[in-house]
Symmetry: C2
Subunit: 262 residues, 2 copies
């Protein structure tokens, strides 16, 4: 059964029935996928404010009402306790489990945040004929901690994590245009060129993901990355926190084009 | 002393010293002005989520940390207890006072929201050679309650309030382009043409502000209005709430161009 061309709601049904338990990259093409962060209500205002102040690494797709597992804006028939292929449970900032669902773990004070993900703008880059090196290479995108400080909010603070895709100068200019159309999927790049200028010491040794080749005539192009909010949350060591397992995203009812800014 | 061409911080100094106590329209030209809503912390998450879900009527400029009167993002040297020319105090949803400052009223659990205002896009309309009828007529902009429901969040719900400026078809098209550049100042219009389609019965009898002439060949163009969040908050009848007095805005350090979207 080809899951590339089914709708977001169809894919979620299969995930809910455990017929699909793997990564979601390339599935339900054209539908927006999102990062998941679930936190206790006591941290929700600070985290919402953190996301509002840092829209490039933390573009808000949807936020649930305290206790409700339903993302009313982007997928009103979904249940965040069952509709993600694989979760991660953190206690005091340490990962303790990778549960298949949250039926036993969901808390009455849980607030779920769905944040935009790079799949949306990578699709747009590919459609524009621009290279996405890690997809061609069949590996993970390289990600780096930078010296760019996020704007803090309450207890949340920390450096921005970025992802990198090598491009020629002309491709980088076109990529700025293409990605600026998607402010809710990390938007335009945050840096082009010298990795040292944003505190990256060795482009061949990413902090997360896999290294990719930067060819002669290319320069590294850096985007704000959805790993940023996770890193910032873990530093606070909340009593509990739940995220998706990397690559195992929540798939919404929104089309990529719904994310285009004004 | 000409206050049209001083900076936001200069104008705030004069307001703080009570050298200026009137409306702020046309002052510190080019600097972003903002609506003020101050609420108890217990309502802050719901209201922040309401604003996030309804960015056209409630475009977030800045939100303070609980208890702090300093808008760190848009005017880090400002004090929201003294830097607005005139305030309004509401208790249980009823206006009870128009204080000159908040020195005695500020609460330890106060959270201040600064929301984008129409001055930014009206300046842009004028610079584009487009008519802003109520400015020409020297009256207030006409505002109407509509049947467009805002997206609710927690305790906050209610209809969108819109402002109206008459334009020809060609002017309306240009206005969509010009205002789309400012998603944090209400952005593009929400409706063009038939007032009945959004629940407005009589265009000559606005719910707030003054009526303006719609000339032959013109149609009414409607924008989401900053009165919306105030109306929604008052319906909840919070124990206390503070706003600016209409027209007596908070002036930020941001330039209008800083509000342009990606």
């Amino acid at each position: 059964m080809d899951m590339r061309h089914i709708s977001g709601t169809e894919l979620r049904k299969r995930i809910r029935r455990r017929e699909h338990t793997g990564p979601t990259s390339g599935l339900a093409l054209g539908f927006v996928q999102a990062n998941l962060v679930v936190l206790p209500q006591s941290l929700a205002f600070d985290f919402l404010l953190f996301c509002q102040r840092n829209p490039k690494p933390c573009p808000i797709i949807d936020v649930t009402e305290p206790g409700s597992p339903v993302p009313t804006q982007c997928a009103p028939d979904a249940d965040l306790r069952t509709d993600v292929p694989r979760y991660r449970l953190f206690r005091d900032g340490e990962m303790v489990d990778e549960p298949a669902d949250l039926k036993a773990l969901w808390q009455l004070d849980a607030v779920a945040f769905l944040l935009g993900c790079s799949f949306t703008f990578e699709d747009a880059l590919l459609r524009a004929g621009l290279p996405v090196r890690h997809i061609d290479a069949g590996c993970n995108v390289p990600m780096y901690r930078t010296n760019i400080a996020c704007k803090s909010a309450g207890v949340f603070a920390g450096p921005m994590v970025v992802s990198m895709r090598p491009m020629t100068s002309a491709q980088a200019i076109r990529a700025v245009q293409v990605c600026s159309r998607f402010p809710r999927a990390h938007g335009s790049p945050v840096h082009i060129g010298d990795p040292g200028a944003i505190g990256i010491r060795d482009i061949d040794r990413p902090d997360f993901g896999d290294p990719v080749e930067v060819r002669p005539g290319e320069m590294p192009v850096f985007w704000a990355c959805g790993v940023t909010p996770q890193a910032v949350v873990m530093q606070v060591r909340p009593a509990w926190c739940i995220t998706h397992k990397p690559g195992h995203m929540f798939v919404t009812d929104w089309r990529d084009t719904d994310l285009e800014g004004e």
